[in-house]
Amino acid sequence: MSQVVYLIPLFPLIGFLINGIFWNKMPKSVGGAIGTLAILASFIISLGIFFEVRSAAFHGPVIVNMFDFISSGNLNIPFAFQLDALSSLFLLIITGVGSLIHLYSTSYMHEDEGMVRYFAYLNLFVFSMLLLVLGANYLVMFIGWEGVGLCSYLLIGFWFKKRDYTNAAKKAFVMNRIGDLGFLVGMMLVIYYYGTLGYQELFSTLGGANAAVPSSVHSWIALCFFIGATGKSAQIPLYTWLPDAMAGPTPVSALIHAATMVTAGIYMIARSNALYNLTPGVLHVIAFIGLATAILAATIAIRQYDIKKVLAYSTVSQLGFMFLALGVGAYTTAVFHVMTHAFFKALLFLGSGSVIHAMGGEQDIRKMGGLGKHMPVTRTTFLIGCLAISGFPGLSGFFSKDEILANTFAHSSVLYIFGLLAAMMTAFYMFRLYFLTFSGTFRGTEEQHHHLHESPAAMTIPLMVLALLSVVGGYVGMPAVISHHNAFASFLGPVVKNFGVHHLAESTEWILMTLSVVVSVMMIGVAWSVNKKPQFAESTGFAKLLENKWYVDELYDAVITRPLNALSEFMDKYAERRGIDAVVNGVGKSVRWGSDRLRLLQSGQVGSYIFIMVIGMVILFTISFFWVR
């Protein structure tokens, strides 16, 4: 099975090519079917590969060489795929959630004229994402990394006729590029010091016998990679693109900006665990940034009114949780949360998509309310998602988030308190969203009220499947205190080596669990009571600060954009016009002046040309024979 691994990215590529070439000639349903089936085929092969990797006969990672990609001197970078526990898990998440979202999209995007184009982009995205996780070296990962960035840009700006949307797309792209620069620098450092980009070669030489490489280099490489991760996974300071990215179609938000692409950073760091294990300092930075992001995004989410923005900030916050887990060395936990988060966040996004669909494009939750009566399936699944993300016992989010908190506590109790705070806020804003949307009375227009309906089956089936996964998804990684065997961690164990994870006493773990559950439930109650009679007065003070997202965008604008613009203007006026232009024009002018004089040599008489040629020959011969010895 592992020999046909190239089929996995091939199917989406074929889908992309077909849809991309015939995007304006094909009926929408055909395009949707091709796109969906391509991903479904990939999913089936991924399943096969997953079971092969899980089987006892599987020893170590399998590397499938496709062709020599870069071969220059000592540097040899093949285009190779690596199959192991980590990549097969991500394959499953990407293709599984991906095929559900494709199925959902066939219905969601049906009204849109650019549906085939949309599916082409979506397939291209899946293709890139699969490259990212399948690659056996950083270069292939980088190709996928750039590919998903491009697709993200294309899909955020899918409705490119609206200027805001294209601006959001540009913002996402530029922010990603800043992070990518870090990744690129990291890769170059790796090439410079180790002469390879392959995971196996790099990790086997890393920090071992190769003492010539100073340890600070490891830190720099790790830091550079982490900068790349912050860009792609929307961490401080590069997180502001993700909420804006909600401009894209909702399934895109579900797939790219919740389940897959934004987890690429976590994948990369988990993949590079051998590197990060050498650099505890960088891990501290990661933990700190992750926690800060989690709290910051959670606070902002509390006062948002756009249904997708809330979910976006929640995603940022959850990603922060994952980075916190990475930072404390619990890589498997982070990956576990990636998986569960993929389920319930995709579910929530698709649910919100269903709501928006029903509301005819309205996204403001102040104009919703009482939708539960009209769309029972959406309501139920959405509720499951909310419970899962809030860490309600027995649901998937409970296990993963609890594991993160437990590991954090083992690391440092201060971090734990802040983490718990963030988890509290998660429960609050999620249920604020839920109550505002589904309970109470409808606050929209009559027309909208008239239109309210449950979504078609193509949309509700993915919702139900994802809801099911959100419920049971956590049981693969039940903590040791409950099941005595964390299947998930041991599955990933051969690939991902956790670093400095202490085992807590069982009683402590039970206490922490109880605490988080109690806190969550409490916050659900608070949310219910607050939103029982919702009033949307002009917020003031701190609330206003939150509503305006801590003015981070404005801050960036003031601190970075404006000075840069001013500098550019200055450069334009003085350095460019007076300096460079003067030099360039001066060169031109002097050449012109010189050629005006040289022109006289060109008499147009062939004879004189021959003359000059002969004289030149004489001079050259003289020099070469008599002077140069």
């Binding site: 004879g607 003359f611 002969v614 004289i615 020959m617 004489v618 011969f621 003289t622 024979f625 008599f626």
Partner: protein, 174 residues
């Protein structure tokens, strides 16, 4: 002084004398004839070096075809000493001086070259079967390409020399 050396000096004198005649005679037809003489002398050199094939080919190609073409063109244009454009005295002197300087520079550069005797007779490498074997074995591709070159040159000459349709036909037998 054996026959070979005598012939060498004879042919050399003829070649140089005729070459000077080429550039000094006013009448283009005389120039052509002198050049034919030079080529015949060079063919003679080939003969005494036992490069018979090249000698004959030199005669056939250069004197028999190329120089006839030159003569042809000159006759067609009816060029003679009266219409021959002449350069100024100064330019001519300058031409002679620079050519001479080039000659001197090259001579000075190679005058120390160790003289090697020309093995005049004992080797048959100039005979046609030896030449033919190498030509058709090792140089078969250049040979084919040169035939293509010939063809294209022929077509090119025809295209260039073609009369423009607007002009009335002139009697040219080329």
């Amino acid at each position: 002084m054996n026959l070979y050396d005598t012939l060498f000096w004879f042919f050399s004198a003829v070649a140089v004398g005729c070459a000077l005649g080429v550039i000094l005679s006013r009448n283009p037809v005389n120039s052509v004839l002198f050049l034919v003489g030079t080529f015949l002398a060079i063919s003679g050199h080939y003969f005494i070096m036992n490069a018979q094939f090249l000698a004959i080919v030199n005669i056939v190609v250069y004197t028999g075809a190329i120089m006839v073409l030159f003569l042809f063109v000159i006759m067609l244009m009816n060029l003679n000493a009266d219409v021959e454009p002449q350069k100024g005295q100064l330019i001519q002197v300058a031409g002679v001086i620079s050519g001479g300087v080039l000659f001197l520079v090259l001579i000075a550069a190679i005058h120390k070259a160790s003289p090697m005797p020309i093995d005049k007779q004992s080797i048959d490498i100039g005979l046609i079967n030896n030449l033919g074997k190498v030509l058709f074995k090792e140089y078969v591709l250049p040979f084919e390409i040169s035939s293509v070159l010939f063809l294209s040159a022929m077509i090119g000459a025809v295209v260039i020399g073609k009369k423009e349709p607007a002009l009335p036909a002139e009697g040219e037998a080329q």
